[in-house]
């Protein structure tokens, strides 16, 4: 460290203490960093739940809120359960200090509560019983899958934390799966209704029976799919190519089975030649299974024979798994083999995204231009223009970036790149 001439040197003792303090600082572990990020996300999510209130409306709103709030509170007071929920039985483990649900065997832990609610943690799942109240209980899942069968009671409220997500429950039956490493959250709702809040889902998502929610934080994706009713998985779900299914960790087996049932129609289509039903696997997050299936069938053959849906699914998982060459090949095959389909146009835009990673800015910009020329009102028009703007700015072509930003704001004043576009147009 160079010191200015007018800066006095430290005494030996002070220098030694400074050095000691500098050396003492140890970096955080990955788990500690994950916990910190989860805490920030929870704060941001909680913030989003609060709606801004305009001052002029405050007095009126406050009066309305007071009146509205009084009725249900009074109702809850009258209806409040007389006794707190207590744990009635624990099978396959025990409840340790702090509420940790420790497993004693290999079959997972099942907790039965006094009012009939039953929670089953899959083997290997780490979970806590956080709180028992008069009106319900709070549990948390740190890692793994769990099934909940909550006894319906309008006076009780249950909540389940899974990573940064909070599931608020009344009477319902559902499965939750949280994988902190991949930052994947899955919820399969079999009966009743639940509300999920957390990062990505914005103000919260209400799910109804028969829906599956999949959130992939690294991809910023939230997907809701319909699931079929309870029944054994049909044999048609096996890949048409005969590839072995990717083994599902035992802790996630229950959830994965329910997700696999998500697309019976896709499975039926899979009976036909060259239709592999990969869209259903994609929706179930089984990316590696798609890649394994494609590789087993041979990539060249797959690119020549797969359906349009499957090619797109393959391109998606290849992008998610950073296999740019395969993504590019699948998208090019889509364009070549299905030139008149709308997806051929989508492929141009997605090729641009792939080009940003591997081929360089010029190629990506050219592809975005081509997409905008051929599909000026297409579903990716805003994204294509936004990406062009970002790329121009990254290349220090600020005049071009500003010109695109102005164009973007005219066309998509509330688009996802609008804030960035405004920032660019404000610059000198």
């Amino acid at each position: 460290m160079k010191r200015p001439a007018d800066e006095r040197p430290d005494t030996k003792a002070l220098a030694a203490l400074v050095e000691l303090q500098r050396d003492a600082t140890k970096p955080r572990s990955a788990a500690e960093l994950d916990r910190g990020l989860a805490a920030v996300r929870a704060r941001v999510a909680a913030d989003r739940l609060r709606r801004p209130i305009l001052l002029p409306a405050l007095a009126v709103a406050a009066a309305v809120v007071l009146v509205a709030a009084a009725a249900p509170r009074l109702w809850r007071f009258v209806r409040a359960p007389s006794a707190a929920v207590v744990v009635q039985k624990i099978e396959g483990g025990s409840l340790l200090e702090g509420g940790y649900l420790a497993q004693s065997g290999r079959g997972g832990v099942a907790v039965t509560f006094s009012e009939g609610t039953r929670v089953q943690l899959a083997p290997g799942t780490r979970g806590w019983l956080r709180e028992l109240r008069r009106d319900g209980a709070a549990l948390s899942i740190e890692n793994g899958a769990a099934s909940f069968q909550v006894t319906p009671d309008p006076a009780r409220r249950w909540s389940v934390e899974a990573g940064p997500f909070l599931v608020t429950v009344k009477g319902t039956v559902f499965d939750v799966d949280w994988d902190p490493t991949a930052e994947r959250f899955d919820l399969t709702l079999r009966r009743g209704r639940v509300e999920v809040t957390g990062p990505v889902v914005g103000g919260g998502i209400s799910l109804r029976a028969g829906q599956h929610l999949a959130i992939r934080l690294p991809l910023a994706e939230t997907v809701i799919t319909e699931i079929a009713n309870e029944r054994p998985a049909p044999p048609e779900e096996k890949p048409a190519t005969g590839a072995a299914a990717v083994p599902v960790p035992p802790g996630r087996a229950a959830v994965k089975r329910s997700v696999a049932r998500a697309a019976p129609e896709a499975a039926a289509r899979a009976k036909q030649a060259d239709v592999r039903g990969w869209q259903a696997w994609l929706a179930a997050g089984q990316w590696d299974r798609i890649l394994a299936d494609a590789e087993q069938a041979g990539l060249t053959a797959t690119l020549e024979k797969a359906s349009s849906d499957d090619l797109f699914a393959l391109a998606d998982v290849a992008r998610y798994r950073h296999r740019a060459d395969l993504a590019r090949a699948a998208l090019l095959a889509e364009r070549r083999r299905f030139p008149s389909s709308p997806r051929a146009l989508d492929a141009i835009f997605l090729l641009g995204r792939v080009a940003e990673v591997g081929d360089g800015t010029a190629r990506a910009t050219a592809l975005y231009d081509e997409y905008l020329a051929r599909a000026p009102d297409g579903p990716y028009a805003g994204e294509a223009l936004g990406r062009k703007m970002i790329l121009a700015n990254d290349q220090n072509d600020h005049a071009q970036a500003r010109a695109i930003a102005r164009q973007y704001l005219l066309r998509f004043p509330s688009g996802s790149y609008a804030t960035a576009a405004r920032a660019l147009t404000r610059e000198p």
């Binding site: 800066e7 829906q211 995204r353």
Partner: protein, 211 residues
């Protein structure tokens, strides 16, 4: 991000690899409040923020709280970032602001509740430092606690974070002469307090000899 209800919904949702995003791209995504940006900003800058907070506060737990507050504020106020290419400085300005607030409120807490400074064990967090080092560190942090928030921040940023006087001035929104005065004031106070503590001086000498 929109939520879709469909049989095969993923195919048309664009994925991205956040790690490939430039700092400018990341800043723009933060300004657009895109959810991936928070995680990526944390991945990229949290180690730096935590290290600075550890050194300024001498407490890992308090540093964790500060880092969370910093990123919450950054995400909430990203739209005030004027130059997307200066994301690092933008984050650092929040670090300094939050640390200053934390040091001041810590001082108030200590005055009101007579609480004690954090133990060195907390900062070292199981590191294999010897007992003497822990003791030294605890006593040094107690001395730093006696400085006012501004002087302490300037001293730590200069001495342990190796920031230049100019960088400190820009980050803390102070003039260069004020930073120099604060630095000089902090150093002479610390020298004085160390000299007045024979135990500490002896400890330092022992440590120096054994290294």
């Amino acid at each position: 991000m929109s939520n879709r209800v469909s049989q095969a919904p993923l195919a048309l949702i664009v994925g991205r690899d956040p790690r490939n995003a430039s700092d400018t791209d990341l800043a723009l995504a933060l300004m657009a409040r895109q959810d991936w940006a928070l995680a990526e900003a944390w991945r990229r800058f949290a180690p730096m923020v935590l290290r600075t907070a550890d050194r300024v506060l001498g407490s890992r737990n308090e540093a964790d709280d500060v880092a969370q507050e910093v990123f919450y504020q950054v995400f909430r106020r990203a739209r005030t970032l004027r130059d997307p290419s200066s994301l690092r400085s933008f984050i650092y300005s929040f670090v300094v602001r939050v640390l200053k607030t934390e040091l001041r409120s810590r001082k108030r807490r200590r005055l009101l509740f007579f609480s004690t400074p954090p133990a060195a064990d907390e900062l070292l967090d199981g590191a294999s430092a010897d007992v003497e080092s822990r003791e030294l560190l605890m006593r040094f942090n107690a001395l730093l606690d006696r400085l006012n928030a501004r002087d302490r921040l300037v001293f730590v940023l200069r001495r342990t974070e190796d920031m230049t006087i100019q960088e400190i001035a820009a980050t803390m929104d102070l003039s260069i002469s004020t930073v120099k005065r604060a630095m000089s004031h902090a150093s002479s106070k610390l020298d004085l307090w160390i000299a007045a503590d024979p135990g500490l001086t002896a400890f330092v000498e022992t440590q120096r000899r054994t290294r």
